[in-house]
Amino acid sequence: MPRDDPLTRVLFVDLSRRRFRVEQRPDLFAEALGGTGVAIRLFDELCPQGADPLGAENPIIFTVGPLTGVYPLASKTVAMFKSPHTGNLGESHAGGRSAIAIRMAGYGAIVIQGRSVMPIYLVIDEDGVAFRDASALWGTRSAYTSGSVLRRREVGSGLRTIMRIGRAGEKMVSYACVVTETYRHFGRLGLGAVFGSKQLKSIIIGGRRNLAVADRRAFRQTYDTLYERATVSPLMKKYHEIGTPMNVVPLDAIGGLPTRNLQSGRFEGAETISGEHLASEYLGRRVACAHCPVACVHLAALRIPYPNDPYFYKTLMLGYDHEPIFATGSMLGIADTPGMLRLMDEIEVQGLDVMSGGVALAWATEAMEKGLISEAETDGVALRFGDAGAYIEATQRIVSQPTDFYRALAHGVDHAAAIYGGEDFALAFGGNEMPGYHTGPACHLGYLTGARHSHLDSAGYGLDQAAARAGEQLDPIEVVEALVKEEQWRQVLTSLVICLFARKVYDPGIVLQALGTMGREWSEEALVALGVDVLRRKVAFKRREGFDATGLRVPARITETPSPAGPFDDVFIRKALAHYDTLV
């Protein structure tokens, strides 16, 4: 590593004492590259056993990697924290300008500790940290507002990230998100609630610098190879054009699109919420994360008339992707595109994770259909599949919490179903609500075993779809072994903070070449060993905090609703989980 690479600088911010310090930690970045690998090492050092996720003792760790700011598509920030949603390891990744900003400010990691006595926001640059009063921003109705206020108040446009929470984070809804650059999110596992618990409204980070490389010629050549793969080769085409929602129609066609709380894998309205339909009728702009030429972020322009005021309109610019479409579309039976987009917008206004939010509303709707709850619980809101207006009202109440029911729903479906019943159709895995794939046993095993309980941990839907295409039966042992192997390699990618959409762009050969130009000599074996080690550390942390794969709750619904990979039962899942337990 070039001697003056600022990556090894770790910024520690103590919110309780309003102090900061920088530590040089070359050991961490030499052993674990950056990203997830460095984050889990720091987290192990700093998070006490049994820490309260909403207590001052819960550290928030942000990390970037050696390729950030050097090569394209390495622009993700890894956030690690104890999750108030699952009570265990929390890890969430976001792009936008966050990673470039942290790298250009001259840090490889930022650690936030303690708890502020008043609402506060941080401004971080190469000189350190300013602690600023956020009491006027606290409680603003819309999460968009704090972004636009801080954008005007602070300097550095184009070279900064503005991470912020909405009201959901302030109220510590356990699946509140952190938004960055309006359209990117640390979405899952409740980082927003951890910010809220620390009275931390926003973090602005920015800077500009050059980074030395070890070999200038090889640096330019490697860059050109990666740039060509990202822009010209077919590898990233799907993300360029229709974007992630190009999955909607094919998933529906095979019966793998979770619909009406997964009562079905097919949605009759799939066409109107599809990427193709959104692109032709609503796509208003495409944007990119910093240092990524792909520009997968698709924004819908939705023109909304004011019902009682002719000649008054507003135009929303709203980011959409496969997961938000599943969560606010098919999962809630909403085929009305403007209704779906307005619900997505309300979830943004409140600052919730759209995936957990949509699944929570879907569970509540079925609970109401089955008579487990009534309008007394929902504060008069009649939840019905397909009714976007009712869901907008319920979304507001998850945050304002007028009843015990909403206070429960604000902790996710596991928590709410434990009180009100309906666990068979409470679609959470390891405490985290499901993503938008019901392709077979492998996807669900991925959600159950993945360290983040995310579809991105190990992409089980790929195994299901391959088996479905080949007409083959999956084997529980083979599935788990394939999932673990995939998750191990992904630890390497996320330690380099390479976007997982670019996993085919960054094959092991080019990863080694890129690291070499930065003066870091690695071998493929060493990378693979790092991936194994990082996953082992994450699972060890989870076990320390009470995780037991064999004791996971498996919602019966996943084995009842037909899947593209064919029927599977609880025995299959249990056998796989038992094997996982011995494997990692």
Partner: protein
Amino acid sequence: MPKRLSVIDVDRCVGCQSCMFACTRRTGQAGLDASCIHVRSAGGIRKGFVVVVCRACPDPPCARVCPTDALVPRSGGGVRLNASLCIGCHNCEEACPFGAVLWDREQGKPQICVYCGYCAGYCPYDVIALEEIEPDERPTQGGA
């Protein structure tokens, strides 16, 4: 024929900043502090982006305010920096209405586009291009 970098269609800009990274890479470094091009949002990303480049003015105000003639007008438009004459007064930075005079903090001198077009080669959406300046072209000040 002198060339300059032109913003062809800013509405196609996705804000990826590949051009900024290219400009610094031109110097053999990674990062973006050596960049002479800047991309920022037009007041929030929902409104799109602004691409700040030196437009090679025919009568450059940055050169007019230079007390040491370190910025020399180029025939056909734009300026060249004679760094040995520069005293780092920042007058040029303030004179450019586009904010296209960026600052080299290490050297304490302006960072001026050399109209090489390297950045345009890395714009995936044809937002910017290196163009010849036509002899009969007399753009008005403040135009784009």
